[in-house]
Subunit: 224 residues, 2 copies
DNA sequence: GCCGAAATAGGGGTTTCCCTCGATGCGCTG
DNA sequence: CAGCGCATCGAGGGAAACCCCTATTTCGGC
């Protein structure tokens, strides 16, 4: 490795990117070599620059941060990824861990901690913010992260179709029309969904889907 | 008005605050005099420092950004507020306008634009990002912002109680128990809610509440 | 002191939802 | 090929949910 650590910053908020850049460029041993505002851009930069470290936000357009992290392993195996995000849901943290990231920090940390984290992962260490580490530990005690990921329920594509329409407030009859099937089929899928999610009403299913980021409200910020 | 513009930065993400601070402190005519990580802290700083400009995030703990903006008018009338946030929902934009803010910028803008905005509002101008301005214009054409705000439905406290429980997936029977009333009463409140929101199912009502930020999913990040 | 809004609650009805039994065909995999 | 998951439907029934109308009490305001 060179004596200066090359870093790429990925965040859809330009303000945040530029602020982070100034923080890191203020360090003599760190050099920001690129910025990306969405997932595909991030992968392109990773492939071209193969930086030592990528600071990666989770909620970015075009490609989710988790997927970016996974693919970076393939295209730039020596690049370490630090997830730096506002979101610290269990799902995000676990998914990031499985994607082989070298660190996970909430955006509430101080700048100095991020600088330290960059140096640490560049040196081969793993950096978890205490609050995140606690989360992990909790799951670990419950039987390893793998098993947590395994018990992750998985709806079929058709079931997702149904759930998405339920989450838009449609009745079974309307869903049936939208999917050109009978109401009975919709009910069948819903029964299956309820079973998998461990709920017993459409409203609970929608809540579950929103909490696990399977659905979004069509509006809201969506990385922008 | 001094020759240097005093600025307070409000954001719950320390990283973002420090990055923004470095951007602004790099300007000779701008001086960051304080940072706050939540709403109450922001008001305390506003009262004590009476800065020329406050850069304010919307989703902050303890007190929402909109409410902070409203109160700042009372405690520091000469202070201009620029909303700088990841969220650009109609509701947020309109609420911010009504709260008397001097600008509204998405976090996707470049640092230079924020710097310009700070100077502009300090000079008494109003700064709207083009994307935000379009939003406003759309509502304006539909009959002024006031009327939009007026047709804003308003649930009674009891109706909000019911809606919150509905949004947690409870059945009417469970809601009735939780509120120590009969199922009929819950149905009555729900009927009233449906009428006000213009929907006809509990699921739609929950979606409406989430989209308008009346509800949150209990989890998620809460702090944008 | 009356009026309106909110909260409470009931009667009686229709619709939708949800469950428990099934069944068929289709594609993939061991 | 023999399963197995997936998607598609059906019957029948009980339980919620939702709708329209009415009624009481309470409380704050003019």
């Amino acid at each position: 490795m060179a004596d200066t650590i090359s870093v790429v910053i990925v965040d859809d908020h330009t303000m945040v990117r530029e602020g982070t850049r100034r923080i890191l460029d203020g360090e003599p041993d760190i050099s920001v070599v690129g910025e990306a505002g969405d997932g595909t851009e991030a992968l392109a930069l990773a492939a071209r620059l193969k930086p030592d470290v990528i600071l990666l936000d989770i909620r970015i357009p075009l490609l989710g941060g988790i997927e970016v992290a996974q693919r970076v392993r393939g295209i730039a195996p020596d690049t370490k990824v630090i997830v730096l995000t506002a979101y610290d849901d269990d799902d995000y943290v676990l998914a990031a861990m499985e994607a082989g990231t070298a660190g996970y920090l909430p955006k509430t940390v101080r700048a100095a901690e991020v600088v330290d984290a960059v140096r640490a992962v560049a040196a081969g260490e793993t950096v978890l913010h205490p609050s995140i580490a606690r989360k992990i530990a909790r799951f670990w005690r419950r039987g390893t992260i793998q098993s947590v990921a395994a018990d992750e329920v998985c709806l079929t594509p058709r079931e997702m179709d149904v759930l998405r329409l339920v989450a838009r407030g449609l009745h079974n009859r309307q869903i049936a029309q939208a999917l050109t099937v009978t109401v009975r089929t919709v009910e069948g899928h819903l029964a299956s969904i309820f079973g998998k999610l461990g709920v017993d009403s459409r409203t609970e299913a929608v809540i579950y889907g929103l909490e696990h980021h399977w659905l979004d409200l069509g509006a809201d910020d969506v990385g922008g």
